[in-house]
Every structure is written in C-alpha cells, then in structure tokens.
Symmetry: C2
Amino acid sequence: MAAPSMHLNLFIMGCGHHKAAWRHPESAVERLGDIRYYEALARTAERGKLDAVFFADGHAASNVAGGPQWFLEPLTALSAMARATERIGLISTVSSTFFTPFHAARMLASLDHISGGRLGWNLVTSMFDSEARNHGWEAMPPHEVRYARAEEFAETVLALWDSWADDALRLDRHGQFADPHKVRPIQHHGEHFLVDGPLTVPRPPQGHPVLFQAGASEPGRDLAARYAEAIYAVAYDLPSAQAYYRDIQARVKAAGRPPVSIMPGLVTYVASTEAEARARQRELDELLPTEDSLRQLGQFIGQDCRGWALDAPVPSLPPLSAFSGPKGRYATILRIIESEKPTLRQLLGRLAAGGGHCTLVGTPEQVADEMQHWVEQGGADGFNLMPPSLPGSIEDFVDQVVPVLQARGLFRRDYVGHTLREHLGLARPAA
Amino acid sequence: MAAPSMHLNLFIMGCGHHKAAWRHPESAVERLGDIRYYEALARTAERGKLDAVFFADGHAASNVAGGPQWFLEPLTALSAMARATERIGLISTVSSTFFTPFHAARMLASLDHISGGRLGWNLVTSMFDSEARNHGWEAMPPHEVRYARAEEFAETVLALWDSWADDALRLDRHGQFADPHKVRPIQHHGEHFLVDGPLTVPRPPQGHPVLFQAGASEPGRDLAARYAEAIYAVAYDLPSAQAYYRDIQARVKAAGRPPVSIMPGLVTYVASTEAEARARQRELDELLPTEDSLRQLGQFIGQDCRGWALDAPVPSLPPLSAFSGPKGRYATILRIIESEKPTLRQLLGRLAAGGGHCTLVGTPEQVADEMQHWVEQGGADGFNLMPPSLPGSIEDFVDQVVPVLQARGLFRRDYVGHTLREHLGLARPAA
C-alpha cells in the first residue's frame, strides 16, 4: 500500500449511537454489564484492522428510563479488552476536572504496560454540573478554569510518564533494581496541582500513551493544537469538516508542531443496496418513542412541534439569527432540513443517531466513495466510527466497507506495527 | 466438609514478600510489568481454591535501587486477572485519602460486574507524606482526619452502590431502560465529600463488593469493627493473634454486628523436610545486601550494628522501656530475638520477609499443624498468605500445604459459590 492508511476508530457506546438501538429486538441490551460483549466488539474491530476502539465517558447518570448511557467504567473495561485482543489500540476518555494527574498517569501507564503499548487517552474537561456534583464540586468550574486546569493536567501527566527514564530499570540481581538517578521527582507545584512524583510505574511502552482531544470551542481548539496527537471532530458535511481541518492544522502549525490526524465522527448504515441501507435506518428511526423525541425537538427549536405530522416534511423554521436559544444544535437542525429535506420522523432519527455528525447511508461502495472524498479533499485523515447499532453496524462496516477501502489502497490490509502509536504513524517521544 | 473452611488469600507483592526475592536467579523480576505474570499467580491461587488474591497499594515510589515496590496499578491489573480466572476473589486496596468516593465506587462496581461478583476492596487511609504530595496535599492529613474521612468515604461508597435498586433495570424495549424511581440520588453533603449520585453503574452483582480493612491503631480498629466484612491482621505469634482477635470481635459485637473473619498475614517456607525448608529460607536471606540491611537495622534499634558478626547470635538489646524510637518495630525485633535466638543474618532475613508477621518454616504437615492450631485456638479464621518468593512459594503452598488442610477437613476441596461473598460466607446486603 503506497499511500498512508486512513485511520479508523470504533467509538463504542451502549447498544449503538442511535438512541433507539437498544429497543431493537436483536439488541444486546441484556449484555451491557457483560465484559464479553465489549471484548467481542474489540475483536470485531481488530478483525477489520481498525486503529483503535474508543470509550467516551461521563460521571453522572441521567434519564435512566430513556435508554442506556454509562455502565462499565472505561479504564477497567479496557484492561479486559486489552487481554482479548493483540494489536488494536484502546482509547479511554479521562476527565482533567475529576481525576488527579497522578491517578490518570498511573492508570494509563499501567494499561499501556498491560496492553503492550496500545493505549490512548482522550482528554476532556467534562461539562455538566451533575457530574461536578459527584466529585466534590458545587458546580462545574468556569470554561476558562477548566481549560487552564486541563493544560496543567496534560503537562503533569506527561512529566510523570517521563519521570522514569526508558533505561531506568537495571534489574541487576547483584546491584540495583532501578537506577535512582534515572527515576526523578517532577516537583510540579502549579496553580491547580501539586505533584512531587516520580510515578510508581516505569515509563510506558509507548513513552506516552497517545493523547487524543476533541477541541470545538476556541480554548478547546488551542489545547488540541498544543497537545493532541490525534483529534476527534464533529463535522456535519465536507465543507464544515474542511473548515475545521484547516483551522486546526493552522493552529497546530502555529504551535510549531507537525500536522495531526483529524477524525470526524461518522454514522454509517451499510447494506448491499441503498434501499436496504435506508430500510435499516428507518427500522431504527421507527423504534424511537415519538412523544419523547418531539418534546426534546421542541426544546431544541424553541417551539411546540407535538402536533406536526410525523411523515410529512418538516415545516420551515426561522433563520438562525432569529433563534435565541443554544445556536449549535439549532444550526445543525437547519442544515439537516435544508440539505436532506427530511420528514419529521427522519429528522428525529437523524438527531437520535449522532446528531451533528456526518451520516452515510448506502452500499459499501457509496460509503467508501464519500469517505475517500473527505480524505482526498482535506476534510479528514480518517473517521471515528459511530455505528448506529452494535454489534450489527460495525460488523457490516468491517465485512463490507473495509474490504472496499483496502482494495482501493486507502486502508491497511494488516497491522504493520504493534502499538497504537505505530498504527497512527506517530514517533515514540523521547523522555 | 463439616466445619466451615478456613479462609486463605494470596497477598501478591512483586517477586515475593522477602525483600531479596527479586535477586534470586530464578526470580520473575523481568516480568513485573507483564500482566501474564499476575494472571498466572491468580490461576495458581485458584487451583488451590483460595478465597482471593489481594493487592496492597502505595502512591509513591521510594528506594527504587533496593528492589521492586509498585509497578502495575491494582484496579487495572485485577480486571485482566478477573478474565484469566473463574471463581477466585480479587481484592484491591483503595485509599480513602486519595480517591473520590465516586471514582472508588464506580471502578469497584465496574470490576464487580466484569468479574461476575468476585471483587473486594481493602480500605486504607494511606500513611506517607510522599504519597500525599502526589495527590495535591502538602502533607498527610492528621490521623484523626484521615479516619474521619475514611468513615465518611465508606458510607458514601456503600450508598452509591445502593443508589440503583437490584431490580432497577427493566430493559423493556417498548418502555423503560431503567425505572427512574429505583435509581435514586444519594445527596451526600458531608464534611469531607459532596456526592449527589446516583452512580453511573447499576448495583454490583454482590450488592457491595466485600469490604476488607486492616485496623491496627485505635481508630483503625474502630473503623474495622464498624465497617469491615473481613479483616487483615499483623500477628507475630499466637498470643498476639488471640489478643487482637478478642479485641476486634468485642468491638464488632459492641457495634451490633456478627463476628467477622480475621486473617493474619503468614509467611511460609515449605519443603518435604524441615531442613530443606530452612535451606530455602537461608538461600533468600543470603541474597540480602548486608550493608543496606545493617544500616536499616541500626535505624530500627538506634545503634550502629555494622561491626557485629553476621553468623553469630544477635547481642542482647536494651528493653523496650529504654528505647526512645518507634516502639512497634523495636518490640517485634525483641520478640524475634527472644523466641528464635537468631544469628544476625537470620534476624535480617526475618525482618526482610514480612517483619512482624508470623513465619512458619517446615514440612507441609508442620505448617498445617500450626495453622490449624491458630484457627482452633481463636487466633485466626484464616490467613493472608505472604509468600516469600513468587511464584515458587505459592506453588509450594498450593501443591503441598493445601492438600493437607483439605484432608483434615479444614479447607474447601472446591468452590461452592461463585462470588467472593459466598466464599467468605457473607450474605448479600439488601439495598
């Protein structure tokens, strides 16, 4: 394969990214507490030679009636998944607001040893007061405090990983276990953290587990530009993906760093005919409890839509400038209505499955065409796959889309390296 | 088997509990970062039908030249070990000073799901300023603050586990995922912690993972008496084990609770003849770097002993009342000298392997005799096995001592239950 492989992650979420996926008769909803379900997903992703599997994370349970949200904790789940696989990367979300840097550095380093160098961490600052109020805060600290803390958190974690030199372990039975001159305190006494170090874990196999970030806000983009080694993005269509891509790579360059891989989220419905793929999408959409969805849509658009006809086109909405509520989601809704001309039911379904993320529905070739187009047109270096239902949608992708990408020389036919860093083409950092 | 089984844990520590074990030519020192080493230890313990494997924990690296101390982080390691075994319990130390109750409750609950109900947690308050200074504290909080915090920590963790009713999950594809009336906030707003809850993880299979504690100080014993479901103890000989046992069970009774299992630490050197067992002990003792050990002993006893003859009996020491340094360790040293009349080299070896814990050296029958005697004489309900070298000493114990205990009806021939709670004869707590 001449060109570098595009990068593909499986973003694992409950029974799938479609909010109604758990309601499907064949869903795995009974198995959400069963680690074997996640091990099987990781093995499916590894069969498809994907770069990694990825867990988002949250620290509060809400709307438990509506569907599964969180269940197993990611760091503990990924350890078992590491032992059920051999090559695929494993990425955990870690909140810089709720962890101490020492816990984070230590657990991620431990997992990097357990997995033989396959760990990544997605650094988030967390968002909700309900999460803050599970970890001793009265409310989430302000945005700028969260990001200042996140930056200091990242620096501290990286310093802890470097507190053991690569050659610190001597294992000399007649002398030293480790060379004390190569295991150094970090003496970090900053604004948010006091951490003397050194870490209790020798340097991780990858030097540093790979740092992912998903910067959307201004400070988020700046943090990503300075620290992220790979970036998750939200892009509804190619122009917005290109705009984000250009903006981030410019910031990365301004920070004096080489380009980083950017992976927008991607929801795919794949089948051997487009009609069949659309039928799969419709099947999930029809499982949505319309009353709840209409009430939620009403909140998003600031008007009562419970009387609207489900299978008629969505009525036209006021322009963004006339909307006084949260603009991001409203803008997405306007774009979906404008570009897809959906019925009300279709709109509810789109919002219930990856909302503002790109959604592709079609044959393996059609899906591969669009993925290729995004990569060739500077919108993405790969994708963070958000299968609407699990395990079905990722099996479809691995069995049907991956071979097309491989045949076109766009995706690896097998792993070359053994570490996540190698899959992503990232050099191992010196201490 | 008529009588209830005694309880046996494998206390995993690096290459073994003898400080020089890693120096043995056959030690596994090269494998301390390899999860397969710990998986194999857990399988050996499971072959012996032990109740559980157990990790201590610390949050600072010190004296890295002298030998291995910490390496993999326990919660991540135990997840992999859970998947490498089927029945044995898995116990992690968790510090109430460094974790938030939400993190602890969540990770332990997740591991209880992953292991199918085999998790235990050993609640500690941690001791060293060097650890505190890795988690944002200038120094360890005072003893009474640590114990007040530990008590509030335990209450909060238990409340989080109970925040989901056992029957909260409905999994009704045409209705609710979970019953919101059975997933309740805990609204804990205490002196040390603010935690609204509910947890993000449904109630653990065991209801509560089993709570271990090792209370030695007055507040430690009180905490253990009120919360612990099983207790680790330090007892040099049967009289001190009996005194501790009586004291704790009296406190447990005063707290209105049924008796709890107490497991003193136990170091064993086993071989088919007593001479061979003593030779094994001597082989490890002779691997100790004498200069370091003599300097350390000098600190313990408050005098310079570097000129003393290694293979002559230890000179007599001033009585405890005349010693102005830390009394606990000094008292242990006096007792070893009095009861074992060791040479200086033997004393250094004893201190290097489990210090104040009971040490048995002999044939399988001799070791089983003494264990039986402790249990029958009200000194113990079982033992926390501290093998001087790993994996060798635990293989010896499982292959040689366990069959003797089984033949005498003192230990289970196979597991009856599937959860750690069942192995320990503990009822599953109602929410």
